[in-house]
């Protein structure tokens, strides 16, 4: 196996997570939420997604998800609203 086809492994919400191959932030969010997304990060079914993503402590804006390629060793947090406060 060469470095080129090695599947990137990230830390997703605190756990190791192997990506199927080269993946963008948009691909990951679609996989995790099970929702189809438009290239601009909005849900294909309309409505609001209610999700945000940070890589290594920096928020990646929704519109940049499709161009953001996840790399080996990235720490990724995907958050949403929950009851509290």
């Amino acid at each position: 196996m060469t470095d080129h086809d090695h599947s990137p492994t990230i830390v997703l919400n605190g756990d190791r997570h192997e990506l199927p191959g080269a993946a963008s932030a948009l691909d990951l969010i679609a996989e995790v939420t099970g929702r189809k997304l438009n290239p601009d990060g909005t849900p294909a079914d309309g409505g609001r997604l209610g999700i945000a993503l940070a890589v290594d402590g920096e928020v990646i804006r929704r519109g940049a998800w499709s161009d953001y390629t996840l790399a080996d060793g990235h720490t990724v947090d995907i958050v949403t609203a929950v009851q509290g406060g």
Binding site: N13, G14, V32, T33, G34, R48, L49, G50, I51, A52, L53, A54, G57, V59, R61, R62, D77, I78, V79, T80, A81, V82, Q83, G84, G85
Partner: protein, 255 residues
């Protein structure tokens, strides 16, 4: 009479929290009974197992969402959480909460102030959960927060308003709305907050952990309205002795 933040007019002066409810359906029932138009939610890692979304529910009910930074101990974490909330929920509003320790859950003034300054610069409309300290409240206002939210008592304690004098002082000096946040245990606490001149009251546990959440939500709505009316009406001065309310003229006397 409505109150306004960022040109958003709200009639209800009861801001609700969502913590402490045993189910989403009980929470929904309580929120509807409370008549609230603004409700706060926490931000946490997405869990694919939890299908029910509090955000979806609030949208369905037409209630504006106020994300909070509950659970943050440092300005750094609070700022990141606020930025994630802005992106996820598409709002600049944030209830800034930076706590000092888990026993008191009281705000850490140093971290709170640092986070408030940074978030204001970043364009947020900051609702700052603070101690019942008039000096800190003024400093937060000067830093540009939109709302000052003094704690009546520690979160979830139900101890009511431990220092009404301080809350009254904060209100009398503030040029921004003051929302009494935390510590409310029952309806009279909410009414007192409004009588002290607060613009609104934020509470969660008092309703969500009540035996009958629906009834307590309704009680809080009425208490906030009653307290607000009483504050505007003006209470009579306190006197050490009685002041007769009936005339003495024309009294009959037994022979």
């Amino acid at each position: 009479m409505t109150w306004t933040i960022d040109d958003v007019e709200m009639a209800s002066r009861l801001v609700m929290g969502t913590g402490g409810a045993s189910s989403l359906s009980i929470l929904e029932d309580a929120l509807v009974a409370s008549g609230t138009e603004l409700t706060t939610v926490a931000m946490r890692r997405f869990d694919a197992e939890s299908r029910d979304s509090v955000f979806t529910m609030l949208q369905r009910l037409g209630i504006r969402v106020l994300p909070n930074t509950a659970g943050c101990y440092t300005a750094r974490d609070a700022v990141l959480t606020a930025r994630l909330a802005r992106e996820a929920l598409e709002t600049n509003w944030v209830k800034l909460e930076v706590i000092a320790d888990e026993d008191t859950l009281l705000p850490d003034p140093i971290e709170l102030f640092a986070a408030a300054e940074e978030l204001v610069l970043d364009g947020f409309t900051v609702f700052a959960y603070t101690n019942d300290d008039p000096a800190l409240a003024k400093r937060l206002e000067d830093a540009g927060v939109a709302v000052v939210m003094p704690a009546g008592a520690p979160i979830g304690s139900g101890l009511g308003i431990l220092n009404p004098h301080n809350v009254e002082t904060i209100v009398s000096r503030a040029q921004v709305p003051v929302i009494l946040d935390a510590g409310v245990g029952t309806a009279s606490d909410a009414a007192l907050a409004m009588e002290l001149g607060c613009t609104a009251v934020l509470l969660a546990s008092a309703v969500t952990r009540a035996h009958d959440a629906h009834a307590m939500a309704r009680a809080m709505a009425l208490a906030v309205e009653a307290g607000h009316l009483a504050a505007g009406a003006g209470r009579i001065p306190k006197r050490p002795l009685a002041l007769a309310s009936s005339p003495f003229d024309g009294m009959v006397a037994a022979q």
